[in-house]
């Protein structure tokens, strides 16, 4: 008999839900957690083609961010710049099949590509007054507010993992997209560094 497919988060084995229940989020300098199972769809296309931009907007409501390393949001859809002809559309998990179908339909006849990459990444969230200090210990980007803020994203390295860093608010809060296979490693790195701060774990 075929077994049903059960989605497991990349960090499930750390028992974050139980750890979060014992965590003091209010008194913490940093709060970290996992935001698993997001819908992530990679799109490729020509940003100087008005039809491509219109197609993205028709499906997501988002004005395609054409400025390097920026993001744009509309409702549940967030679009992240990855390259001059490459973006991620990120939205609520479980909707990726519909999103892929809608985008493919909108791009019909265009030189564009749509690939569901939801299963490749998990997201580690980090928020709080010391979040920049923690990231600075493994990331060479200048994350000072004068150089990096909400609305900006960057693909870079964090310790030895490749990540996509997306600042989601001015707290500051960051979403760190990482390959699931590096999730265990990166979480343990945060665990190690985080012990120098008052840190708490947040349930998803």
């Amino acid at each position: 008999m075929a077994e049903a497919y059960t989605r497991r988060s990349a960090l499930q084995h750390f028992g974050l839900t139980a750890a979060a229940a014992k965590s003091d989020v209010a008194g913490a300098e940093i709060v970290i957690g996992e935001s698993a199972h997001r819908a992530i769809v990679n799109i490729r296309g020509n940003s100087s083609d008005a039809a491509f931009i219109a197609a993205v907007k028709s499906v997501t409501g988002v004005d395609l961010p054409v400025k390097p390393n920026t993001t744009a949001q509309s409702g549940a859809f967030r679009v992240l710049w990855l390259g001059p002809a490459e973006w991620w559309v990120v939205t609520t998990g479980g909707t990726e099949e519909k999103l892929v179908a809608d985008l493919r339909q909108a791009f019909a006849g265009q030189h564009a590509a749509v690939v569901d990459v939801s299963e490749s990444r998990t997201v580690i969230t980090i928020s709080g007054a010391s979040a920049r200090d923690v990231l600075a210990r493994g990331c060479s980007l200048d994350l000072h507010p004068r150089a990096f803020g909400p609305g900006q994203c960057a693909q870079t390295g964090l310790t030895k993992a490749n990540i996509l860093l997306d600042q989601t608010d001015a707290t500051p809060s960051f979403d760190i997209y990482v390959l699931k296979s590096f999730g265990d490693y990166l979480w343990q790195w945060f665990w190690l560094i985080g012990r120098d701060y008052k840190f708490a774990i947040k349930a998803q």
Partner: protein, 96 residues
Amino acid sequence: MLLISCPHCGPRDEHEFAYGHEAHIARPTLDQQNTMSDAEWADYLFMRKNPKGVHFERWVHARGCRQWFNVARHTVTHEIIKVYPMGEPAPKLEQK
């Protein structure tokens, strides 16, 4: 550590980039390949400039936007003199 200005992302640490060796080496056309000598083929495949001075080379922003571009770099001082797009000819620079 070099600080390299990706044409898209701006200045980033060298560890985000991968080196793509000497720029402006044109692959021989099929016709040329059919007529060229082994020595000429070996020259295309293996022989590279190794200047003490300005070197024109390719880099890719491997951990970032994954785009290729050309760099003019001084091999002694490591100064990056110019970053310019793929497909553009090597810039004329004053020899330092």
